[in-house]
Amino acid sequence: MDILLLNIIVLVYILAVGYLGYRGWRETCNSSDYMVAGRKIHPYVMAMSYGATFISTSAIVGFGGTAGLFGMGLLWLTFLNIFVGIFIAFVVFGKRTRKMGYNLSAMTFPELLARRFDSRFIQYFSGLVIFLGMPMYASVVLIGAARFIETTLAINFDLALLFFSVIIAAYVVLGGLKGVMYTDALQATIMFVGMAFLLLMTYSHLGGIAAAHQALTDLAPLVPANLAAMGHLGWTAMPASGSAWWWTLISSLVLGVGIGVLAMPQLVVRFMTVKSGRELNRAVLIGGVFILMMTGVAFVVGALSNVYFVQHDSVIAIAAASGNSDSIIPVYINRAMPEWFVYVFMLTLLAAAMSTLSSQFHAQGTAVGRDVYETLVGVRGGRSILITRIGIIIAVVVAVILGYLLPPSIIAPGTAIFFGLCAAAFLPMYACALFWKRATRAGAIAGLVTGTFVSLFWLVFVHQKEAVPLGIAKMILGRDVLISAMPWPVVDPIVVALPLAFLVTVAVSLATQPPKAEHVEKCFEGIE
């Protein structure tokens, strides 16, 4: 590999990103521009930005590697990503969110909920959940990107981490959401091209769609005994019902990541960046195809890499990657793809990491600046941009510090914790805000608090994957998890916390006085 050529390609890419960040900065005049991109974003930019924020490096490399290990069952996640994460999100939630956000002049996700329920508590509590929950998720992506720069561009890890953070911080702080979304659209386009080539070349390499799948089906007898014990029945078969892998697949991956996406603050805010429902209609088209090209391709190629490795090295993918599922996709790309594609794919991964991170930093900045600080201090308006910029800088600094400090075992559950928290804390309140006029402030607050704390309790004391590395259960109870009987240690928090939070929201709403009719009318103006 030619390091000089790769460095030049990356430099050109960084310059392009810098230019788009500069355009965002030039076009930012007020806080509406800075936080909701002036509500006039083009549908292509909106859809690509939503998609690129949604899909991080870990969705391609991490989950793609998991598909290499466990097979195509992960496609259930792709289906939910498209059907729930795009279609339902845009058509059912997005249009109402846009309109209600406009009616209430809301500029952040917590602000939308707070104004809908007329509660300052909702705004700063939600802002705190975002600001405290997101840094670990952001540093996972940051560390991944820095490691990637270290290995591919031959730059020292600490330097890479710092350099990368400064570049992102610069265009997020200066360009606001416009800067973030313009650069996202470029990054998403690069990702789309990279993944499309990967799919085409993999299928053509393995003799076409049906032949490639058939070859993968025929590998079922090669499933190692330890994976078979977890329920693995082959790479083109669902795991055995009720097995450990089945529970993980269904509850964590499919429900947690697939449904949880509906209430991710950095995605919801994008619905408020377009000027009408028409833009969302157009964005659905682009978003659906984009996500299919991302996770759909990553999971199919991840699974099919087994066929390539068996044909060429007589070992399955996980063995070819020396037992580390995160290495399956990179090893496969390096071995099976032409050299020019390795450069394209590296740019794809860099783009995926940057687009996710920039939105995380922006969401955290608005959470701490607009939602927590301004709400608690009671200031509004004038200094919004300045305070949010300071918030973004704090978020970047925290992510970098965590990146240096946290051991890998704690970092890994970071993403799961944030996804689970968002779904349980925000989804019941958000769904009721949009669809149920009878929902009350007390109901929303009760659901928010229940979802947050049940989720945290489950993560710390019950769900093995987070409870063991966190070690708090061990410290207090003297054992790894509270309930060791199967399937509880592998049941994702979302399965318990989300329905409970929904129930509490509805029950408390029904038990309290209905909200004022005129306020509800204002919220729902123009919404059938």
Binding site: W76, F79, I86, T217, G234, R278, E279, G288
Partner: protein
């Protein structure tokens, strides 16, 4: 997991035996096509309220700018 026997239909489809996996493979593609179809059918719908919203937005932006000028002394 077998809900029906694919071999009765003359062997496997797309090289996948498990109907749950074959089903989700097709569902993923179909859901993307649903997005495409929905987008095309509704390409020009939903923008009816746009002119009045833009008018409101312009007056709001003017208010915001004057507020910033007042508070920050810009």
């Amino acid at each position: 997991m077998e809900i029906f026997e694919l071999s009765r239909f003359g062997g496997t489809m797309l090289g996948i035996n498990d109907p749950w996996i074959l089903g989700v493979y097709l569902l993923s593609v179909l859901s993307a096509l649903l997005c495409v179809g929905y987008g095309l059918v509704n390409w020009n719908r939903g923008g009816e309220k746009e002119p009045e919203e833009i008018r409101d937005e312009v007056s709001w932006e003017k208010g915001e700018t004057s507020m910033e000028e007042k508070e920050l002394g810009l």
